[in-house]
Symmetry: C2
């Protein structure tokens, strides 16, 4: 790359054609140009013709004119990588990126829907807490009540699946509620932000009535998956296709750039459920991951602090050491103790081994095929809205797609 042009507006010649745009920082060694339409192109061979402008003037964000024939979608921005940008004049990564700016960077969205944007937070998602989930659920509720066809929530990827689960339990929705993020910031050559946003917008106006996560699904830029919010997990620290549906196929696939949706598995349809909000969450619920040698006193520690919800991330079919049985049977008297598996894939079944049967006798409730994180949030929600006995009953009942009907587990090979 020609030194010193980074961040400047340049004209180059490559592949026999002339290109104009902003020279971008690149980690791959090739020269990357950001075109005015928002796309990035990489060149291994090129010739610099001229530097047109020293620095890119701050773009004017045009008030998007509404088109009457298009549905209205609300975008709520909460922060994360999808809302961060490299400032090419200072070189720093900033995350002062509002929802309007996201849209102005991805002009295709204006062809799909009319967008109203709202900046709710600007935080990295590792700093989210239950109070953010509750405020967000209220904003989404309001937007759907106001008649938006769907809601898009831009969110950091780290804890997106937690927030999506929280909303799935708190909010019964007739319309799509779509979480989207990016693994690379919006203006990196390899950013997945534009594609993810386009696919999210298509999902937000589709025939869907549940909380989903829409993210990059392959190593090339050709499709996103629509994941059920309570059945998805971030499974890679950095790959763009990090999100995986667990114990459920993705609900659908959105092709890019066409935006066509193909549904892959049964979903809740638009209008099937009424709009309702039950937004209380009990914060004194804990998830404890078991490992060989971990002692059960940590359960007492939380119990003594008033916790009455415990999710254990056990081994295999749902085990912890037999040493734990006494403590569990003591706390299970007036608490809910749910067993999940650190295998993540598959279903808990404590009837197979003695170790499991002792746990059941002690009062452990099998978390079925729920992810540990989902069981945690479900229990926060149940204990926020019901008494312990009712929470014990409901934790095993499928409420929003978090539990699939029993499969005969010995034979299950999918």
């Amino acid at each position: 790359m020609v030194e010193g042009v980074e961040g400047k507006r340049v004209r180059i010649k490559a592949k026999g054609r002339i290109f104009e745009g902003i020279a971008m920082p690149s980690s791959t060694g090739s020269f990357v140009l950001k075109l005015d339409n928002g796309y990035n192109l990489g060149f291994s061979e090129y010739e610099l013709i001229e530097v047109i402008e020293e620095g890119r003037p701050k773009e004017e964000i045009a008030e998007l004119a509404k088109k009457e024939e298009l549905p209205n979608v609300k975008i709520i921005s909460t922060g994360g990588t999808i809302a961060s940008k490299v400032d090419y004049r200072t070189g720093a990564v900033t995350s002062q990126f509002s929802a309007e700016e996201i849209v102005s960077d991805v002009p295709e969205i204006a062809e799909i829907c009319n967008v109203d944007a709202m900046l709710l937070y600007n935080i990295l998602s590792e700093n989210m807490k239950a109070k953010h989930w509750i405020e967000l659920a209220r904003e989404v509720y309001k937007a759907i009540k106001d008649g938006y066809e769907g809601v898009i929530i831009t969110h950091g990827t780290d804890t997106m699946a937690y927030t999506a689960s929280a909303l799935a339990f708190m909010l019964s929705t007739p319309s799509p509620v779509v979480f989207v993020g990016a693994q690379r910031s919006s203006d990196r050559p390899s950013s997945d932000a534009a594609m993810n946003l386009v696919c999210a917008a298509k999902t937000a106006i589709s025939d869907l009535g549940e909380v989903v996560v829409v993210m990059h699904a392959s190593t090339s830029d050709d499709f996103c998956h629509i994941h059920r919010g309570v059945k998805v997990r971030k499974c890679h620290t950095s790959r763009r296709d990090a999100f995986r549906s667990i114990n459920n196929p993705p609900l659908g696939v959105v092709s890019y750039p066409s935006g066509d949706i193909r549904w892959l598995s049964s979903r809740i349809r638009r209008g099937e459920r009424e709009l309702r909000l039950k937004d209380r969450l009990e914060e004194k619920v804990v998830l404890v991951k078991f490992f060989p040698g971990l002692k059960p006193d940590v359960l007492d520690y939380y119990y003594d602090k008033g916790y009455r919800g415990f999710v254990l991330e056990g081994t295999g079919l749902g085990h912890v050491s037999t040493d734990w049985v006494d403590t569990i049977s003591r706390i299970a008297e007036d608490s809910v103790v749910v067993m999940t598996s650190q295998c993540l894939w598959g279903r808990v079944c404590d009837r197979v081994y003695d170790t499991g049967r002792y746990l059941l006798q002690a009062g452990v409730i099998e978390g079925e095929d729920m992810l540990p994180e989902v069981a945690l949030i479900k229990l926060m929600w149940l204990l926020g809205n019901y008494d312990v006995e009712e929470a014990k009953r409901l934790v095993k009942v499928n409420l929003v797609g978090e539990i699939n009907p029993t499969t005969r587990y010995w034979d299950e090979e999918v």
Copy 2:
């Protein structure tokens, strides 16, 4: 299935042939016959000819005659499903199954190696603890010192990867140390025990000098994978192909029934390392899985009990809430605090976001591409054998294949 013949020796006619064996319990609706050679056959249509014997007499376990041309392998049995059997006279699942019996059930092994068997434990692996790991490491050390070509350890699948990691750190070995288990008990029609054992035996005499896990790798019975002990995880509660290498390709694939090994990635070869045992483990090390809203007081709880090793299972590239920074910087003064990721796949990198940089300033050490469980055991081993400063230095250094060299993570797509 004809009622009442389960557990009895019968003769049937099916597919135009006569078969004789023990009628087995079946969960699939078809009739399953255990032949005298140990194999199970399933029939959907058949005709019962006669009941030959009311109950199967306890098999005599033949002392296996040694063949001079074959290498000697030691099998150490520790328990788990691979060591359990349904008793067809009482119907109960027992786990009174010694290593000799395993071998007598899988006669192919006698063609591969001479076996000496030892029953060390008979426990489900969720009940394993550090003391078992230490005793086991000593037994394996002894066996290799005694000149065995390789050692096979039969083990419950739940915590097999933990035990394999523990041995990998404690024991430097010139010969293969092979963990094997089964997801279905040995005498179930769908058991993977025989195949896994044959593949383990082939691995135990191969050109390998490290601790590995050999388990079923596909939905059909055609091959096993050889996984590096510090790079493997049980990723399904019940599937036979539950074990997956994470952040590393499997070391090799063993075809079944041929037993041919194809190596897939670089390995430590036989004889490359000297036999050495460093079998101290510090038990006051804890793994804490972070979730949004979890408060850092749990670190103080363990710190106050004298813990000086902490593995955090953070989100994404290795984050916890910024609330945690103060507590971490306090305990990191004289403790080792290692960050890993609940994504499991990928590498921790705390230099990308502010949240991560604060953690680094507070003294967090990036766990690179180590699994949380592996980082836990590595830290137990480091603090058992070195002081805190040396442990801090070594935790980031690759010792036995637990850390791969840095990949440029933005570009990493594998």
